[in-house]
Amino acid sequence: MKGTDGVFGEAGGPGTTAIGSPPLSLADLAPGTSAVVTGVLADGEPAVVRRLHDLGFTPGAVVEVVRRAPLRDPVLYRIKGCEVCLRRAQAVCVRVGEAAR
């Protein structure tokens, strides 16, 4: 299962995203990968930003993609010791740095 369907599959890697690639969001990570949150962006939706902050998605926090639901959405994340699931629409709001296994 791991790494079969994300941008960061076997083909990808930290090297391929360094230059010229768009900034990553949580939704771009494959299950099993971890990354550091760099910020939360949601145009015109301060409530979304605040709630994601409250749930622990703050800059500097390490987030791990635990697994996808059988129908691929939502996705379960581990953040600050808790397991929280988000739909894709919310996951794209969370910007992350480079992923790591």
Partner: protein, 650 residues
């Protein structure tokens, strides 16, 4: 000793008016309710599902002479509310909730296993600058998972008292009660914790470092269980197996218990017949009380099992998983995973289902789910279905390996569920298209063994509610109905004039019932139900079931007993139309029974549900809408069912 009440004005009669008010705040699933129960001795329902406190609970804690009003507020992740549940918490904290004083002090409940996040929440609450004390829960689990925390250092760092408590084992409850008496001396932090997220994180990190916090290891059991239970293939299989087991248990396990209850009432009925001479009194006791109420009480084992299973699934933490698995399916209908849990609870009763919608952050989702919840087959429909299916299908009939009766029952459940989903979709689509979509997020708590007490409390409180309904609404309706069916009293002359043999008690009973006030009432509404094939007796049943569905069984039982006190079941089967175009034809033909069943699938015949809809939405608009659309839909679908069954039956 202590009293509690659901929402309302949140006042507690047991507490003196001037007693200090202390509010419990914390994130969902942080163990608040267990702390509350430990403090007050109240038995609020606890569960391992974020958002179990779907209303405010108020209770009293006693320590010596001291009394404190304790208020359990709905859990929230932050003080910028996004759901109605969270709105209550914030309004109470700011003293904006009507009829409720601003709390004098706060107990901030934080989960030791999720302290990094909990402190972000504690920071927001401490910034409200009320005297506060922090209660750390799940310290036992923290230690088991190799985590560490120095609560005294945490107290020093936070600038407020900190007490570890293991809620479900009542460890630390005595110390906490002791601590409550000193609430006046609880400090407010010298400097309110920062609100800006980066500074707040820095504050939390510093506090945790000072308190020597080591976060717990991952919960192994949860990781292993989720690898299976949330697996695309196995997880789905287990989900369907759990759902199948859910209904199987309810129907097969409950059957022998139901037989016991039935035997008990048969025995009681026999005692009444044998020992009560007065025919009026014997009729009243035997028919109205034992026949009417007993017919409904038979379902107590089933209802208790249903609630027990729901409490177990919730307590273990599977409900949140079910919501996670079903989210995508629910999204098809414009809803989210938590709506699935609300609808699943509605299988037991629409009321907890409607209350559970409070965990839905979106007001539109909430309304759509509430409008759909009454369509889920609640336990009150069970007695009606069992009675009617018995009239429709031969118990020995089989379709393949399945009993035909069971299949019809399954079909009715399915019809209810599918209709509910469609109704939710329609209401969601009709909702204001311009309102902003609310973000979806949900926490999956670690699997935990629920405290047996908590599960039993959840089961017992719902059984008690059902018994209360039986002893009030259903008894009252049964008694009124009995009177309506047996009045006016007819003279021998009238009977003779009608050509009845006054020595034949069956004939006399039938005549009395047929010329009773109830019959008049049933005939008055006949034009409405005539196209569905219902006669006055069924109409009386439907009218009486308007308050509570189960009453239908009690009513038909009484009507049948009134017609033929010796063999009510036979009477029901042999019942014929007493007038109109269909005079002489049997009442319970297949098309009529089908129409009745379908009518019960759709109709909103539950005053308690109407009342809860009113309370939850704050206006009469939504209960009126639900009542109107469901009643019209019930009639139309019943007509459809009658026509289709008529065509099939030839």
């Amino acid at each position: 000793m202590s009293t509690g009440c659901h929402t309302g004005d949140g006042t507690d009669p047991a507490a003196p008016p001037g007693a200090p008010r202390i509010a419990l705040v914390g994130a969902p699933n942080s163990g608040k309710t267990s702390v509350f129960n430990g403090l007050t001795g109240l038995r609020a329902k606890t569960g391992n599902y974020p958002g179990v406190t779907v209303s405010r609970f108020v209770g009293t804690s006693r320590t010596g002479r001291h009394r404190h009003v304790i208020e359990d507020l709905p859990g929230t992740y932050g003080l910028e509310p996004v759901s109605p549940d969270e709105r209550i918490t914030v309004d109470v904290l700011d003293g904006r909730l009507e009829g409720a004083r601003r709390p004098d002090a706060l107990l901030i409940v934080v989960d030791a296993t999720a302290l990094e996040r909990s402190l972000g929440f504690a920071a927001q609450v401490l910034a409200r600058e009320l005297p506060a004390c922090v209660v750390v829960t799940f310290t036992d689990e923290l230690a088991r998972r190799q985590g560490r925390l120095d609560t005294e250092a945490l107290a020093e760092a936070l600038g407020v008292p900190v007490l570890p408590v293991i809620g479900h084992r009542a460890v630390g409850a005595a110390r906490l009660r002791e601590q409550l008496t000193t609430w006046r001396t609880w400090p407010v932090p010298a400097v309110a914790p920062p609100t800006e997220p980066a500074e707040r994180d820095a504050w939390a990190e510093s506090v945790l470092a000072y308190a020597g916090y080591r976060p717990p290891e991952r919960h192994r059991i949860t990781q292993r269980a989720d690898a299976v239970l949330l697996h695309p293939v196995w997880g789905t299989a287990v989900f369907f197996a759990v759902m199948a087991l859910f209904f199987q248990t309810v129907f097969t396990l409950a059957a022998p218990l139901q037989d016991r209850v039935e035997e008990l009432f048969a025995w009681l009925s026999g005692r009444v017949d044998a020992h009560v001479g007065n025919p009026w009194l014997s009729g009243f006791l035997g028919d109205a009380l034992i026949g009417g109420v007993g017919g409904v009480l038979v379902f107590v084992p089933q209802i208790m099992l249903l609630f027990l299973l729901l409490a177990l699934l919730e307590g273990v933490g599977y409900m949140a998983r079910a919501a996670f698995l079903m989210d995508r399916v629910m999204a098809r209908f414009g809803l989210e995973g938590r709506a699935f849990v609300a609808l699943l609870s509605s299988f037991a009763c629409a009321i907890p289902g409607i209350m559970a919608t409070r965990t839905l952050p979106s007001a539109r989702d909430r309304l759509a789910t509430m409008m759909a919840a009454p369509l889920m087959t609640c336990s009150a429909r069970l007695p009606v279905y069992v009675l009617l299916i018995g009239l429709l299908v031969d118990p020995s009939a089989r379709v393949g390996p399945f009993g035909a009766q069971g299949l019809v029952m399954f079909g009715l459940y399915l019809l209810g569920a599918v209709s509910a989903m469609l109704a939710a979709w329609v209401f969601k689509s009709l909702g204001d298209r311009h309102s902003r979509p609310v973000p979806f997020f949900m926490e999956l708590p670690p699997y935990r063994l629920p405290a047996p007490r908590a599960v039993l409390v959840a089961m017992w409180s719902s059984a008690r509610a059902f018994l209360r309904k039986c002893s009030t609404v259903i008894v009252a309706t049964s008694v009124v109905l009995w009177l309506l069916l047996n009045l006016p009293v007819h003279t021998t002359g009238q009977l003779r004039a009608a050509g009845d043999d006054t020595a034949d008690t069956t004939a006399v009973s039938a005549y009395t019932a047929d010329h009773s006030y109830a019959a008049g009432l049933g005939r008055a509404v006949a034009p409405v139900f005539e196209p569905l094939g219902f006669d006055w007796r069924v109409n009386v049943g439907i009218l009486s079931a308007q308050a509570a569905r189960e009453t239908f069984v009690a009513t038909l039982g009484q009507v049948a007993a009134a017609e033929d006190p010796e063999q009510p079941e036979q009477a029901l089967r042999a019942m014929t139309h007493s007038g109109g175009d269909r005079a002489g034809q049997p009442v319970f033909t297949a098309p009529t029974v089908a129409a009745l069943l379908v009518y019960f699938v759709y109709a909103l015949q539950c005053m308690a549900t109407v009342a809860v809809l009113r309370r939850e939405t704050g206006t009469w608009r939504w209960p009126a809408t639900a009542f109107a659309y469901l009643t019209v839909l019930a009639w139309l679908m019943a007509y459809l069912a009658r026509t289709v069954t008529g065509l099939l039956g030839g």
